[in-house]
């Protein structure tokens, strides 16, 4: 694999992960628990869309086949998508959405803080811009986890159920392939094995504060690094891609 090809795949993975998470979060638009929170989450989704757009733009450029970021977003099938499985999981209730977001925000802040030191100037540029946004996202999701965990019996139960549903998708966040190995050597990619203990420590502290316990099963899902997804992704893509596919020449 050439360096350029590896960098393309790496950037695509980051772009897809942001795009699909943002698309999922946007399902809450107009359905949030109350107006202020509806706006807060939509605002966060918009930040994540922005990051996804920058990544896919760069990926399209690296690929050099004349495709745009829109082509990449709207004209690839599920097997050509490399978003982390956790991002495509259904939102569930608000507690599940929030715990998923907290797990991802914690990972993202660690990840993009490291990526900001990348030798690839485009990736480090996007990362530097993202750090401030993610810092706020994490403050938002962590405060909601604390609130649910220390709220009522029902809010704690829902939060715990959400964690039980989503936990087995967190292991994959730290999976590395030959793409990572190659780019780590070049000082471009982030070594995920270094992040893992830091993430675990922070998440454990959060869970204790919120009266949560980790699910007993150690099983972790895997597959997205090779384009293998849960059934949920196809439904997301069907909704997201239907209009551009029906009217491929439409402009706005």
């Amino acid at each position: 694999m050439s360096d350029n090809e590896a960098l393309f795949k790496y950037t695509l993975r980051l772009g897809d992960t942001s795009l699909i998470l943002a698309q999922r979060l946007c399902e809450w638009t107009g359905h949030g628990p109350f107006l202020e929170e509806d706006l807060a989450l939509t605002n966060i989704a918009l930040d994540i869309f922005g990051r996804g757009k920058s990544m896919l733009e760069y990926a399209a450029k690296l690929e050099g086949k004349g495709r745009t970021e829109d082509d990449l977003a709207f004209f690839r099938n599920d097997r050509e998508y490399f978003n982390a499985l956790i991002t495509e999981q259904p939102n569930g209730d608000y507690a599940k959405t929030i715990i998923r977001q907290a797990l991802i925000d914690c990972f993202d802040l660690l990840f993009y803080t490291e990526l900001a030191k990348s030798k690839d100037v485009t990736l480090s540029g996007i990362a530097q811009k993202s750090i401030k946004e993610i810092t706020y996202h994490k403050r938002h999701s962590f405060s909601w986890v604390n609130r649910f965990g220390n709220g009522t019996e029902e809010s704690l139960t829902r939060l715990q159920n959400g964690l039980n549903d989503i936990w087995s998708y967190t292991g994959e966040l730290f999976e590395m392939t030959e793409v990572d190995t190659l780019l780590i050597k070049k000082g471009i990619a982030v070594d995920l094995s270094v992040l893992k203990p830091l993430w675990e420590k922070e998440i454990n502290q959060l869970l204790v504060k919120a009266n949560l316990v980790l699910p007993e099963s150690l099983y972790m899902h895997s597959g997205s690094r090779n384009g293998l997804h849960s059934e949920h992704l196809s439904y997301i893509l069907a909704e997201m891609q239907s209009i551009p596919r029906m009217h491929p020449t439409a402009k706005w």
């Binding site: 109350f34 107006l35 202020e36 929170e37 706006l39 807060a40 605002n43 706020y136 403050r139 938002h140 405060s143 609130r147």
Partner: protein, 96 residues
């Protein structure tokens, strides 16, 4: 707490720049201080409207009532000597 509750009301004040007064800009619903601050940030500062935020529970604000208008404010009307309109303001002072 009933299911429709959006939490208590908070008043939001924004400061545009350091040193300037905090100006009331609206209100919002939130269940606690941190949520009120975050909601204020998301609702009122997305377009660089401010550099600093105060949120205050609406219930903590003591307001005059319309019935008080006469006794509170009208006595000032016939005491024009309280308004500094008789003084010459040197040009160098500018706006006062």
């Amino acid at each position: 707490m009933n299911n429709d509750s959006q939490g208590p009301l908070w008043e939001v004040f924004l400061q545009k720049k350091a040193g300037q007064p905090f100006v009331h800009c609206g209100n919002l619903h939130a269940y606690d201080k941190e949520m009120a601050l975050q909601n204020a940030r998301d609702l009122y500062t997305r377009r660089n409207e401010g550099m600093s935020i105060w949120v205050v529970p609406s219930s903590a604000i003591v307001a005059s009532s319309p019935e008080d208008m006469g006794s509170f404010f009208e006595p000032a009307n016939d005491k024009i000597y309280r308004h500094p309109t008789f003084y010459q303001i040197p040009d160098g002072v500018g706006h006062m």
